[in-house]
């Protein structure tokens, strides 16, 4: 959910871009981190743990931990809390249905 009115801050957004997550189309603003764009669209599960298939979301949001890794334009293990979203990006939940 996006903040509309804030007593102190103003949020300057880039132009609207569209991208896909697991084949479904979404909209966000150019140059915001992928994870932020996904959270704004209500998507909070970004990958699954390999062994127990537990859902993973953002933890640190500044590129320190590895909780937000996703597959972006075919490249796995992209840190989505720092990598910026772009028009027509193909984003995939990582290790969905990975074998035990």
């Amino acid at each position: 959910m996006r903040i509309k009115d804030h007593p102190i801050l103003e949020f300057h957004k880039g132009k609207a871009v569209t991208f896909t997550v697991d084949g479904r189309k979404y909209e966000a603003y150019d140059d915001e981190p992928i994870a932020v764009a996904l959270y704004a669209n209500g998507i909070t599960t970004l990958s699954y743990s390999l062994k127990y298939h537990r859902p993973r979301g953002v933890f640190c949001c500044i590129g320190n931990c590895s909780s937000c890794l996703m597959k972006v334009n075919g490249i796995p293990n992209v840190r989505t809390c720092t990598q910026r979203v772009r028009q027509d990006m193909v984003i995939e939940t990582q290790d969905k249905g990975a074998t035990k």
């Binding site: 959910m1 996006r2 903040i3 009115d5 804030h6 007593p7 102190i8 801050l9 949020f11 957004k13 915001e32 981190p33 932020v36 959270y39 704004a40 909070t44 599960t45 970004l46 743990s49 537990r54 859902p55 993973r56 979301g57 953002v58 933890f59 640190c60 949001c61 500044i62 590129g63 320190n64 931990c65 909780s67 809390c81 720092t82 910026r84």
Partner: protein, 365 residues
């Protein structure tokens, strides 16, 4: 590609920026590496007014301090800033830093002196279900809402009543989100009284001697179970309580990101008061590896105001070691050392004083 500089600054947060600021308009070739696409570090998400004195930007909001410092540093002709560039390793024999720019271009960065100002990372807490989406470091929530204007949830519980826990709770209220409670394992509130009073006035209860036992949820956090602690920090069976919430913020401290300092083979010491492993250093921020200076949270987790002072001290020390001190360096050094000492006085500074006494060594010059 090979790059040469006199002073390399790793990290463009409050400490790195203040170090760079002291070196502006000297004859030194300064290079700053910053992992993010912007300078300012964690100042960019600080919406509160800073304390202290005029020299420490008191009365100015954190993100505005970041902007002021960035403008000053980027307008100096002798300072080069490389954004989206990570210092990923130090090669001891060849004496260079390997830096990766935009995840594509590798650079060999050669330097005469280096200031490591890499900051800290948020700690987590051990409890069942702590990996569920919806559980964040408090700083992550601050980044989401204050930098990008996105709310992580609607119904929030904060773990930890240190200054970060208190400030982020208040900022969540400002952003229009309900903070259900702050829980604190210690018997007393950890942060400044003024911050605690503010959140209490806004109706957020603070439960002391309480911790989280487990997080419950399917695809994301749905509720948590809290439990009371006794005087020996042991869980008291039968005191479990369930609270529904979609977001849990962990404000349980930070750990210095000291990986590079290990690679420099600095003398390292585990100091819990400072957040983890830190490099031993003298009062002028030089480590036991000659020419390697530290500043900010990587030298011991404190706060932005002390990081800025340490940055100034480290910058001046690096310049002095190259015999290129800026004008009135002695005065600025003395004032910065005095301010920093002042911050560590009294009962609030007790923990930091105790931590520093374990890592401060005699002059490394």
């Amino acid at each position: 590609m090979r790059i040469d500089c006199d002073v390399l600054i790793i990290g463009g947060g409050p400490a790195g920026l203040c170090a760079a600021k002291t070196l502006c308009n000297t004859g030194l070739k300064v290079l700053m590496l910053e992992r993010d696409p912007f300078l300012g570090g964690q100042l960019v998400k600080q919406t509160h007014l800073f304390f202290g004195s005029k020299e420490q930007y008191a009365g100015t909001r954190g993100f505005e301090i970041g902007k002021l410092l960035t403008e000053e540093v980027t307008s100096a002709s002798n300072v080069t800033v490389m954004l989206e560039t990570t210092a990923s390793g130090f090669y001891l024999e060849e004496n260079f830093i390997l830096a990766l720019e935009k995840e594509k271009i590798l650079h060999q960065v050669h330097f005469k002196k280096v200031i490591v100002a890499t900051g800290a990372s948020e700690k987590s807490l051990l409890f069942e279900g702590n990996d569920l989406p919806g559980i964040y470091g408090a700083g992550a929530v601050q980044t989401l809402m204050n930098l990008y204007g996105v709310l992580p949830g609607q119904d929030i519980v904060m773990v930890g009543s240190g200054n970060i826990g208190l400030i982020v709770s208040y900022q969540l209220l400002q952003a229009g989100v309900k903070v259900k409670a702050i829980i604190e394992a210690a018997p007393v509130v950890g942060g400044y009284f003024v911050h605690a009073a503010k959140v209490r006035r806004m109706g957020i209860p603070i439960y002391t001697q309480t911790t989280i036992k487990r997080a419950i949820g399917q695809s994301k956090l749905e509720k948590i179970e809290t439990i009371c602690l006794d005087a020996n920090w042991q869980m008291v069976p039968g005191t479990e309580k369930t609270m529904t919430c979609d977001t849990l913020c962990l404000a349980v401290g930070l750990a210095p990101m000291s990986e590079l300092l290990w690679q420099f083979q600095c003398d390292m010491q585990y100091v819990s008061e400072l957040g983890g492993y830190v490099a031993k250093r003298d009062s002028h921020m030089q480590t036991t590896h000659p020419g390697v200076f530290i500043a900010g949270d990587v030298s011991g987790v404190e706060e932005a105001s002390s990081a800025m002072l340490e940055g100034t001290i480290a910058g001046l020390s690096a310049a002095a070691s190259l015999h290129q001190s800026p004008e009135s360096a002695d005065q600025l050094m003395k004032a910065s050392l005095d301010f920093l000492e002042g911050m560590h006085l009294g009962p609030i500074g007790e923990k930091i004083r105790s931590g520093l006494s374990k890592v401060e060594v005699k002059s490394c010059m």
